[in-house]
Symmetry: C2
Subunit: 185 residues, 2 copies
DNA sequence: GTTATATATTATACTGGTATTATATATAAC
DNA sequence: GTTATATATAATACCAGTATAATATATAAC
């Protein structure tokens, strides 16, 4: 239920193609939301049918033609309403990794390896994406109208990602130590 | 892709009905995985078609009849294979809360309220579910064959939940302070 | 020269998660 | 007495997320 509003939000900054939106998702929202481009195109279709966005075709000679989407007044209304809803919409957890750990007792060595992979991925991510995403935040803060004001909020989502990546790495480390004590005392 | 294996894992402990499984999910896996009962019944159907589980009908007079599912040898094989796969299966993030925060710049007061609700829910959860889930872990550790050995792994998933709940509360707190400084300097 | 990457969408199909309703009865709480 | 809770499924439908492939061309990297 959040994807269409995410797209509306981005379109409220500037008119974009599906391709643009997919890239912005990867650059900036990837931290807390993943969307495939196929999903984005499908969603844009639906939103156009609802009248939340309007599109016009742009003919290009050297590139495939593209379809530029703009937010409509109805779309802005829908976005604003969603933002103002009191229903917070907390997520139901779905963590495949933890499902493996929960039932890991029969394959302790595999579970240990899994936890090590988890730790190393988190450490890599913690070292890499803050810089990349911070750079994107700074870029959009300068480029998009009202970007300066919004960047504080973008920043908060980045900090969430950093905090959780670090917490996961720390958790994995503690699990690894426990398991190693069990397996090779 | 994890739900069927979660069900297989629970059935590897003991034969159960869909109803039982739904309750165990709520009691013990809720921490990292949410599943509706409708989903569980559907999945059990599919698993029976694949030959991973077998069911028999149990006629009851004072309660509705029930269907007791047991894991088959094929099912144990599938579970073990899934547990041994090297592909770790890390999740793609989907955090509705963060989508709201990202676009929260136009409604700062609403966003502040949202963050406060988040903080208070996390603090409540951190105070409540560790005790409840710990009690369930201890119970199943005593009741289920091999429970003692597995409870270490169950414990790790609980600690993940605690750590993340606390991290989220801390993050929300930091965001609230920043926003309040902005809004009422 | 070949390969990879970037641009820009469309199509199809499946799986997974959510929402809601219906049925039937026993017991405990108010 | 009525309501809520627990037991125990079944049915239906929709929306969301994933996977994969097709199409077409320019440019940069090797």
């Amino acid at each position: 239920m959040s994807l269409p509003y995410g797209l509306l939000g981005l379109l409220s900054y500037q008119a974009s193609t599906g391709y643009d939106l997919a890239k912005i998702f990867e650059d900036s929202l990837n931290n807390f939301w993943h969307a495939q481009s196929a999903q984005i195109y499908r969603e844009l279709d639906r939103m156009e049918q609802k009248g939340w966005v309007a599109s016009r075709n742009i003919v290009q000679s050297k590139r495939p033609n593209k379809r530029l989407y703009s937010i409509t007044d109805d779309g802005r209304g829908a976005l604003h309403q969603w933002l103002s809803e009191s229903a917070p919409g907390f997520e139901r957890p779905h963590e495949p990794l933890l499902m493996r750990v929960f039932f890991g007792g029969d394959v302790p060595e595999v579970t240990l390896a899994l936890l090590k992979a988890c730790r190393s991925m988190c450490l890599d991510a913690a070292a890499e994406y803050p810089k990349r995403i911070q750079a994107n935040i700074d870029h959009y803060a300068a480029v998009i109208p009202g970007g300066e004001k919004n960047s504080l909020y973008w920043q908060m989502t980045l900090e969430f990602g950093i905090m959780h990546t670090q917490a996961t790495a720390k958790w994995a480390q503690a699990c690894i130590e426990k398991l190693e004590k069990e397996l090779r005392p």
